[in-house]
Symmetry: C2
Subunit: 205 residues, 2 copies
Amino acid sequence: MSQTLQSFLDALASSAPAPGGGAAAALMGANGAALVSMVCNLTIGKPKYAAVEGDMRALLAKSEALRGRLTQMMEDDQAVFNTLMSAYGLPKQTDDEKATRKQAIQDALKRATEVPLACARACAEAITLSREAAEKGNLQVISDAGVAAAAAEAGLKSAALNVWINAPSIEDKAFADSARKEIDRLIEVGGLDTAAAYALVKSKL
Amino acid sequence: MSQTLQSFLDALASSAPAPGGGAAAALMGANGAALVSMVCNLTIGKPKYAAVEGDMRALLAKSEALRGRLTQMMEDDQAVFNTLMSAYGLPKQTDDEKATRKQAIQDALKRATEVPLACARACAEAITLSREAAEKGNLQVISDAGVAAAAAEAGLKSAALNVWINAPSIEDKAFADSARKEIDRLIEVGGLDTAAAYALVKSKL
């Protein structure tokens, strides 16, 4: 988070394997949460929107907490990647070493599934908040609620890809199936919510 | 581009009217282009992908040029916003002043439509490049091509909202109609291309 936008994009574009799609997913979700906050901040205190003042304050508290979680996830993604690489790099000469390495890889794969799953959940939450911003926010900045929903949905769809990559290599099939089922549901509901928020914003322009 | 990610997101979330959805749109497009470059950079030079080496080098040149254009658009968006605010702030006492102000606002509105339209075109191009990356890129990083497409589509849908906001206030109806028609087409084609790229990536995981 202390990198400049330019250096982040340069690192993303480079042959360095991280940051990659996982960090980009969390960043898009954070953009979505930030834009919900912007709509709230430009609605709160306006006499015309006094009736929704309490709702917008509550929404702002949620969007800012969510933004904090999503920015943290950019770093979690990097940590998970490092853990997975370390596990693959463990020695594998003796049977004991092989068993230890295998367990470390399985643990790292689970973590590499849980982190994007948490990111997908947070992005789905950002979509829900965007929809409320689109319903109640200041009309002068209502387009930003539509951008928020689009950004958060892209984050959700991106995080899902990272769940799908790792799930097939996980030997705990119940864990893998549960993760896949949850992602399918998040994508389905998130897609409908995004379409509703976007159409609502478009109808108000 | 010299701001940190944290300060950009803080400014996005704040009550400052810029940066807003326009800058976020260009940033998402730039994320998409950067991830296409990442896929290229992790495919070029691998013996297994020698057959597509030339294609990937050509794709990388396109994605890096596009990334440069999209990052520039983050600044164009800010400039357009300032121009529009200056135009609205012009004096409007005399008839001459009123006429000058009206013309300045109309010119600024056209520019405020052209800039997101250019961003939408660039995002559509990023989707096309993502699809090629999904078709030919290194399977180990193919998910990043899917993230690239999702990010670029979110940028396109976001830029479209900024075209739709300004178009109704433009008195040159031929200009406004042409912009709206182009956006509708970009969204339709971009949506299909994104779905194709994303499905292709998912099938390869």
